[in-house]
Subunit: 256 residues, 3 copies
Amino acid sequence: VVHAVVARHAPDSRVVDITHQVPAHDVRAGALVLWRAGPWLVPGVILAVVDPGVATARRAVAVAAPGAILVGPDNGLLLPVAHRLGGPSAAVELDPPDERPPGATFAGRDLFAPAAGRAAAGTPLEQLGTPFDPDGLVGQPVPKPVHEPGGSLRAEVLWVDWFGNAQLNAAVVDLPPLLAASLVLEAGPATVAVGVVSSYQAIAPAEVGLVVDSYGLLSVCCDRDSAADRLGLRPGQIVHLRPGHLPPAGGPLRRQ
Amino acid sequence: VVHAVVARHAPDSRVVDITHQVPAHDVRAGALVLWRAGPWLVPGVILAVVDPGVATARRAVAVAAPGAILVGPDNGLLLPVAHRLGGPSAAVELDPPDERPPGATFAGRDLFAPAAGRAAAGTPLEQLGTPFDPDGLVGQPVPKPVHEPGGSLRAEVLWVDWFGNAQLNAAVVDLPPLLAASLVLEAGPATVAVGVVSSYQAIAPAEVGLVVDSYGLLSVCCDRDSAADRLGLRPGQIVHLRPGHLPPAGGPLRRQ
Amino acid sequence: VVHAVVARHAPDSRVVDITHQVPAHDVRAGALVLWRAGPWLVPGVILAVVDPGVATARRAVAVAAPGAILVGPDNGLLLPVAHRLGGPSAAVELDPPDERPPGATFAGRDLFAPAAGRAAAGTPLEQLGTPFDPDGLVGQPVPKPVHEPGGSLRAEVLWVDWFGNAQLNAAVVDLPPLLAASLVLEAGPATVAVGVVSSYQAIAPAEVGLVVDSYGLLSVCCDRDSAADRLGLRPGQIVHLRPGHLPPAGGPLRRQ
């Protein structure tokens, strides 16, 4: 229905669905979906709704960032992608819809879709609502990994994809050069030797590897198996990468 | 594949998917999806298939209603939305396809998509098949709630959405004015105090509320939790709303 | 994101999603999806990704077949549909992308979508990469059923659809004429009487039938129930159809 409302306001627009599989109410997961996809969506209008506070005092906003107008609730969903695209340069609180909708709980249909459609059809941001300082937008940028005393790196699981790969908030450049050659991953009770590889198939059958994923981040992976299931990884979990050697569980770890 | 066939017949059309998640063979659920979405889909052609009787004697039809041509099986799927849009004004039984398909079980691809595509491209209804009296269309309108002796309202669960909110076939106007202030919901073995609110967050953590949902109907809801799971609600179930007071289970119920 | 990249290269193209529900890494299932859908997708560009070997030595290819350019990994995914459309007439190994992507694991976004978009916008096949002999494409055509001594037919379950219907690699023409009238299906420990029918409703409640499905193949079906669950059928499983009579389990089998 949101598509139909966008089409009414912007008949010549092209709408691409990024995902409909964000867990219910999980603003963080939705924000990270946008943060990952953002660079491939510009120039364009990005409409996003993960909105547990719908119909309450949270603001409904449109935000300008380089190449994009972002439309959605001001609850942290939009800020990470706005920063990734270069930072928010302007923001408005959306005007209420001209027509009073039958209920207040479907802002995607009644508020965000008309605003996104109008933006896609060329309406300037300032005509969509009342301007406010974009520094007042709710939310946090994506956390950085932390170098800890003793040489280990404290990282966070950002996302578990549907293959069971667990994306960390750390890239190869975050690893001390020598560290990448011989690493131990500590994740809750699990402690495993891992190496940095560039494909899933470079991980031996019984092993776990750190694949440089399609966003340039390290993902904890198994080859055709779920690393998240094997190690009990879930989004938001803290893991540690430290230098060291462990006998591999199931034979030598192939590295590229 | 249905999209591809529509595109062949109507290259300039825009196709919007409403849902692919109607439970298998559940004509009632599909009819209610269309009934809810209809007002946002007009003007347009609406193609729908929930079709356990495919390849049997059930008619394949196109139906005119204000702003829409509805295409699908004549099994009750189309009638509720046709009435919501103003009532069916004409109907045809679709002609068989020019080309005999390899089998008879995919009417969506072989029969409905070509008809919907041709309608979207401007073919008049009467050229899609053989007219018949639309009073002969199969199906029931959406049931109304019933005022019962003693002042209670007998309602039906129309739909459980993916958040676990249970939409009733009753609006605020169906409640006696005083009743809305102090209500008890009886649903099978469950009996809970409920109040009418306009947002999910207005429901206290351990409570159940009646949210005026985005279709103007009362939905049995919890805040960021599944009311359907908590109370064992399922589509088609009968519930009762009666005046009364119950001590709230987990603290005072906030009302707007 | 793949849609967005295609749109960048081919702004006037129309993109249709066939499915996002191929089981992870199941190249065979993906190849059969394309094989079934292919005839309805031409003329067009077909982009497909089931790619457990992403970022390894498997080739990334574009293949010409009558009416279509097929783009994807050369791992068997594309060959069945290429043969169904008339056979591959030319093939190229795709050039690496102009811009080095942040990681090597999302060939759909970084390699296949740009190639498919360029093909959709009219770039000739030979400008997408380096030609090679299409006889060298990886993969097998869809297997044929086998007539066995004693008059039985050895067939394979190609697919279990979401209703639980199990599509075989056999059509009515593969059955000896008399056989169709009185058949026994042996599938693992299960042995049931089956008849060939043209609709699901022609199968009696406790029975199993062979429906001529929408691709002209025989599907093992129950009426509004899952034949796959009842008989324990799964994709790739071998079944036998032999002449014979069994007392039906739940009453007479209705045939058309």
